[in-house]
């Protein structure tokens, strides 16, 4: 049984009489111990999907318009407040993009980690366990560092503290929403390495949200590509990067400059990312698609399995 099983999730944002669909019929699964990457650009619905797993988006303005989110077999969308509290932390923990904005600036980091322990493992809520967690995320001199305030730490160290907090409750699923976007590349490499190491040692599943395809190649078992609120492609990571099926995935990979790859011009995708509430009819990538045909403008393609494990939402996917 998958640890996380999202089926046909739709999320609207309601404002007055208007509702804009941010997530449209999204299905994705994460099995125990698996690392799944959700890739997409701003406004594609990746963060809303991720936050929905623990129902972290207040409704209103969000409205869960349909679908189910089975976490450990139970539907998050039908849970009571008390049931939700029991799931948050214990089953799923989060790490966000900006550690500086996620940590409480007036509490020492040790205290913040201890709060998590008090909530989830009260018998272990002591400095010894805090130090063990800080050591787990490879913070040097944890005995003294636990008395630091967040401002005394660099961005990379703050993100390690965030990860330590997320791990304090021993979750089975870690959702990391752009965890390295605010960090420098050498620090990003450290954090990715840490996540890889933790996955191996703790056997934890990771759902990683990113816009960076390079991270996918580095870490993911499976990849879900989102565009304009929908899943447009899902595939094992290596197959996707080697042979992308959806024109959007292909264009995205081609548009990223890579060190050592020589090309006179980058293959830019024309136009802009469509805004929520303003998605084109038919295939949503149609206006920017290099291989669009007339019927793409009117027919919304279904997400279909074209090869075992490889799903694509395109009328004319790239040849296999």
């Amino acid at each position: 049984m998958p640890l996380l099983d999202i089926q046909h999730l739709s999320v609207d944002f309601v404002s007055g009489d208007n509702a804009a669909r941010a997530v449209d019929d999204v299905s994705l699964t994460v099995h125990p111990g698996e690392t799944v990457c959700v890739v997409g650009e701003s406004g594609c619905g990746k963060s809303v999907t991720a936050l929905s797993i623990a129902r972290l988006i207040p409704s209103p303005p969000a409205r869960y318009a349909g679908g189910t989110i089975l976490l450990n077999g139970k539907d998050v969308l039908r849970m009571t407040a008390a049931e939700l509290q029991a799931v948050r932390g214990a089953v799923v923990s989060y790490v966000f993009q900006e550690p500086g904005a996620s940590l409480n600036p007036v509490l020492r980091v040790g205290k913040q980690i201890r709060e998590m322990l008090q909530r989830h493992r009260p018998d272990k809520a002591d400095d010894e366990e805090v130090i063990r967690l800080l050591r787990l995320v490879q913070i040097p001199a944890p005995e003294t560092r636990l008395r630091d305030y967040p401002f005394q730490m660099s961005g990379g160290m703050q993100q390690r503290v965030m990860i330590a907090m997320a791990l304090a409750s021993e979750p089975r699923l870690l959702v990391a929403d752009e965890p390295t976007t605010a960090l420098d590349v050498t620090i990003q490499a450290q954090i990715l390495d840490l996540l890889r190491d933790l996955r191996r040692r703790l056997g934890m599943a990771i759902l990683l949200i990113t816009h960076n395809l390079g991270i996918v190649g580095d870490l993911a078992d499976r990849v879900v590509v989102m565009y304009a609120g929908q899943v447009v492609e899902e595939s094992p990571a290596e197959a996707l990067l080697k042979n992308p099926l959806h024109p959007y995935t292909r264009a995205l990979i081609a548009s990223v400059p890579q060190p050592g790859r020589e090309s006179e011009r980058l293959a830019a995708i024309p136009g802009n990312v469509p805004r929520i509430g303003n998605f084109p009819p038919g295939c949503r990538f149609y206006p920017r698609c290099p291989s669009a045909r007339p019927e793409c403008a009117t027919t919304m393609p279904e997400l279909r399995e074209v090869q075992p494990g490889r799903w694509v939402r395109c009328l004319y996917p790239e040849s296999l």
């Binding site: 490499a189 816009h211 390079g214 995205l252 548009s255 990223v256 400059p257 980058l266 830019a268």
Partner: protein, 335 residues
């Protein structure tokens, strides 16, 4: 004659502490940097946050006053210019900023934003010429000239960056400092802006100092690349050569840290331990030595100078011997 010649440039910011706010310490944001840019050439400047790359870019256009050293633009040292003379130089020296959301005045129309440099330098003779010029510029950067009456909030990030580029082009500059022009944009839009900059620069022969933290972007657009660490240039050279055969251990680590899409590239990653130290009190000797996997005692004492043939210079005591041997050494350092 080089278009731009920077010599021993230093920018130190005082850190004021205590009751009398005396400057007891200095942040050495840019510390003894020298380089040249030839007419029409694109030079990339890479480094991580806090390395001083933005300060260097701003000091060149004198948005920040240099502490010492000289910046010669077409032979004139612009660090000593004032008033009209400085304004005349700035016609030829423009800058594009990182964040297209905060660098455009939200209360001005696109026409007024793009025409502001024309107004400052009194270039357009009348309103009609001003409008015609703005429309040409918008068309040049790939925007519909009909957008001239709109406001910045009506545009996406990529479109706003195009407006910023049109503004920089308005005075037909000889050199543009591009300070992280694509890092705030969506991936699929970044390539558009990079291509646009490349086209404009080729068509008009504009020289460019391209500042970025992304090595791949810099390699793509520049012929020559400089790598900066804690206020100093640690390596500089031909872009391809530098990426293929980096000599400075920091450059090597930086290259190996870039996540690569190709699943078949099984590179050994060099993980640097720790963070970059504070530029207030940089480490003695080579500032990179505390994180350097191949440092020797000499590195702690003596600051290496940028040396080597002009095509590829390195500031490392070990650069002469690092061609092959330290590779293995470096790989051992990975965790």
């Amino acid at each position: 004659m080089s278009l731009l010649e920077v010599q021993n440039l230093k920018v130190h910011f005082p850190v004021r502490r205590g009751m009398f706010r005396r400057a007891s310490e200095f942040v050495r944001a840019v510390d003894d940097v020298s380089f040249r840019i030839e007419p029409g050439e694109t030079v990339g400047l890479v480094g991580e946050s806090g390395c001083g790359k933005t300060t260097l870019g701003r000091a060149i256009v004198r948005l920040i006053e240099p502490t010492a050293g000289s910046v010669r633009f077409q032979g004139t040292d612009i660090t000593r210019l004032h008033g009209t003379a400085l304004r005349d130089v700035r016609r030829k020296l423009q800058i594009i900023f990182q964040d297209p959301y905060s660098s455009l005045n939200p209360r001005m129309t696109v026409e007024d934003i793009v025409a502001e440099p024309l107004d400052v330098h009194r270039i357009a003779r009348d309103a009609r010429e001003r409008r015609r010029r703005v429309q040409e510029l918008l068309a040049d950067v790939g925007l519909d000239p009909a957008y001239a009456d709109r406001y910045p909030h009506e545009f996406s990030g990529g479109q706003r960056q195009r407006i910023g580029i049109a503004r920089a082009l308005a005075l037909e500059p000889k050199l543009i400092v591009c300070d992280e022009p694509v890092s705030a944009l969506d991936v699929s839009v970044q390539a558009q802006i990079i291509n646009l900059l490349q086209d404009l620069q080729r068509k008009r022969g504009i020289a460019c100092l391209f500042i970025a933290h992304d090595l791949a972007v810099v390699e793509h657009i520049s012929r020559r690349v400089m790598v900066m660490y804690l206020g100093r240039i640690v390596e500089s050279g031909d872009a391809r050569e530098l990426l293929r055969a980096p000599r400075h251990p920091y450059t090597r680590a930086l290259i190996s840290a870039v996540p690569v899409i190709d699943p078949e590239s099984k590179r050994s990653r060099i993980l640097l331990s720790g963070d970059a130290p504070s530029p207030i009190d940089p480490p003695s000797g080579c500032a990179f030595h505390p994180r350097c996997p191949i440092a020797v005692p000499q590195c702690r004492v003596e600051t290496p100078r940028l040396e080597g043939e002009t095509a590829h210079q390195t500031a490392c005591h070990l650069s002469g011997q690092t061609k092959s041997a330290p590779r293995a050494e470096l790989n051992k350092g990975q965790t």
